[in-house]
Amino acid sequence: MPADQGTPTHDGTSAPLLVVEHVTKSFGAVKALEDASLEIYPGEVHALVGENGAGKSTLVKILAGVHPPDRGVLRLDGQELALPSPLAAQDAGIAVIYQEPTLFPDLSVAENIFIGRQPLRRGRRIDTRAMHRRVVELLAPLGVDLDPQRIARGLSIADQQVVEIAKALSLDARVIVMDEPTAALSAYEVQRLFGVIESLRSSGVAVLFISHRLEEVFATCQRVTVMRDGRRVLSRPVAGLSADELVRAMVGREVVERGAADQAQGGRLVLEVDNLTREGVFVGVSFRVRSGEIVALAGLVGAGRSEVARAVFGVDRYDAGRVLVEGRPLKKASPAAAMAAGIGFVPEDRRLQGLVMELSIASNIALSSLGQVARFGVVRRGAEQRFASDWATRLRLRYGRFSDPVSTLSGGNQQKTVLAKWLSRHPRLLIVDEPTRGIDVGTKSEVHRLLVELARSGVAVLMISSELPEVLQVADRVLVMREGRLVAELGRHEASEEAIMAAATGQVEVLAR
């Protein structure tokens, strides 16, 4: 789609509509935004790109009035702007359209757009006819045909987004922020959305468009801002920019030195995944993991990495393909069978999926090995404690008392507890999903050391991680997923942040077979 022809794009003379100046935002010890800046001009579609964790979502939430910035200012039309609440952002003319909008399923399309602001007639009664007429008028230039009286239940995500856009227009929004709007859309719906964005732009609205798909940036946007580690690293017109430059700007930092020594390849085959498909989630995923090696599944959030891991372990079902463990087919959709076959699984969200927060540290460690600490089906506390303390020493767990609930531990030690739980079963294959998310640097490197030691002892490790330095440091092989497909396999020496990001954003497809 030719995007920048005959358009009233910013030519250097017009003033920016919305300015973000030196904004800083921290959550606890984590700096999400550090001195971030951004200018958006009227009548432009401005792309905001960056790796996972670069600070895009935080910036969106600040513009939406969800989080106040710690430092820095926002300006609209040169005027300083405070956004203490979502309502304040709405009043200021900033509308945010989320990937999956939250509508009122029982109310009509028209009421979803006008709730609380319905046109009135005499006696403060709602003028339903005028409201429906307004909705038809709002939707017509968007080229979307939706019955204003239809209830929102059952609308496709694309149509839900259209309802939100219509709502933004009815509020006379001047800045519309779209947070990865295309992630859940079909190709047809993406084209329709681009049409809508183009008509918004030509009427003078400023659109901030966040996407992981670089081809979309080139197709629809006039300017692009790249964020990395909470800062802006580049803000340029899209014309004249190459995909390579963009990827390099996103990755940026110097490549981290590899830690562990090269691992000898060629242990016995532990895991074979053959053409695994779960409709609408991932397609035709095949890979192998040998004993003694660490294989990383890299890719952007939403590429389907965790879903593949969950399907292998049997938490989710899959529609086609098969999983073999040491040459024997693994029963599908059965975590019990996976555990019996020697697979351990450390899930992404340890609070929700990995630990029973109210139970003691000892009970959590022994939870997957109750057979070893129970006699006649009754758990013996003493045996449980001995069992747990053995593993706690090996993992250098820092804790108060074993009988304390696990919720009293720090994030890093909670993660070690989950690891201890699975390691105590002596797995052949350990699947770890984001093993170091939200834990401090010191514990992080301990977890890395543990994974490497584990692999040396002959365990096959499949690691999912969004942190590229971690992937490069720990993994022997890197598989890259993009939109539910395996798009690249990189050996230790081919893997670099640039190569992984290029594959993850769809710039190249290298399947070394």
Partner: protein
């Protein structure tokens, strides 16, 4: 027009209305369905026992219905916003005794003043519920379960072993439920009018629509700037006030009031609301449906009595109707979602 969009070739065409007709049909079918079940029940009962359709009996069904229809109206306001008011039976009992007691205490007190007292008692109880739910943010199920017992305990404390008997009440008061045009009491017409007003309010006023919005998606309602606390508070106050008024009417209908007046009514009211098609998790349903639900339950109740069937079956049938109604709701929602989704898919391609 203040839209920032430059009109392209925007001739706003009329959007297709197939999906709306489908939805309308289903909701109207819901109310028609209750009327259908009602008709079957009346026909069966009348063919077995012709006395069931004589004017005396019909009058009795109506005077029973008006109490529950009123309570169901208040309850619907609360349930639509994804809350529950279990205290209505106790509020009714408190108001029934205290208001009727006034006739023997204050000689020659006007009947209208007694109604005002009942209303005030209801408002007070509703305000307590509303404040705890909306300000202290305690789940309404817990709050009103507590006030169900507290208001009843107050009632028992005040009355002790005493009671108000019909002889102490003025004739004009006792005549309120019985005066009628043919078999239809004037009171039933007034209550029908009140229910119609409630329906109109919920359809045509912003605050009414916002109750639906809160029940449909509380988080989105907050983000859309709807004053959810205020709306929920108002719903509880309204439900209390209506229960207070219903208490005075209850005194007029039954004449004899002790501390068990309205005991266990809350469950029948919730049953009427659910059978009437109001979603138990809020967001959809109408007060007309809820009132029809009350009429259906009262009719069944009376039919069993007239047919000489044990009142044990009465509760069992209420229970059965609740299960059927909720299952039907769930089934309709699932089918409706699927149908609407398919329609928008066809539209997309």
């Amino acid at each position: 027009m203040t839209s920032p969009l430059a009109w392209a070739d925007g001739q706003p065409g009329t959007a297709p209305s197939g999906s709306r007709r489908l939805v309308d049909l289903i909701f109207r079918a819901r109310e028609l369905g209750i009327i259908g079940v009602l008709a079957v029940f009346v026909a069966v009962a009348a063919s077995v026992q012709p006395r069931f359709v004589d004017s005396q009996n019909i009058k009795f069904v109506f005077s029973n219905t008006v109490i529950f229809a009123l309570l169901a109206l208040g309850e619907t306001l609360v349930v639509l916003a994804r809350n529950y008011d279990l205290s209505v039976g106790s509020v009714l009992g408190l108001s029934a005794y205290l208001s009727a007691h006034l006739f023997s205490q204050v000689h020659g007190i006007p009947i209208a003043a007694v109604f005002l007292v009942g209303l005030a008692i209801g408002l007070g109880c509703g305000t307590v519920n509303g404040l705890i739910v909306a300000v202290a943010r305690v789940p309404s199920l817990v709050v009103t379960l507590a006030t169900l017992y507290i208001f009843r305990a107050l009632d028992v404390l005040i009355i002790g072993g005493g009671m108000v008997v019909a002889a102490s009440l003025p004739g004009g008061f006792l005549a309120i439920p019985t005066s009628s045009a043919g078999a239809v009491p004037y009171l039933a017409m007034v209550v029908a009018g009140v229910v119609a007003l409630g329906a109109y309010y919920l359809r045509s006023f912003r605050s009414g629509r916002e109750l639906y919005a809160i029940g449909s998606n509380p988080e989105a309602a907050r983000l859309a700037g709807i004053p959810t606390g205020k709306r929920v508070f108002t719903a509880f106050v309204a439900s209390g006030a209506i229960a207070g008024l219903a208490g005075v009417l209850w005194a007029a209908v039954y004449g004899t009031i002790d501390s068990t007046a309205g005991y266990g009514y809350e469950l029948t009211v919730v049953a009427a609301v659910v059978v009437g098609g109001v979603n138990i998790f809020g967001g959809s349903g109408t007060v007309i449906g809820a009132a029809l639900g009350a009429l259906l339950l009262a009719t069944i109740n009376q039919a069993l009595y007239v047919l000489g069937i044990s009142s044990f079956w009465d509760k069992a049938i209420d229970g059965l109707l609740i299960v059927v109604a909720i299952s039907l709701d769930h089934w309709i929602t699932v089918r409706l979602t699927a149908a609407l989704r398919k329609r928008s898919l066809q539209h997309a391609t």
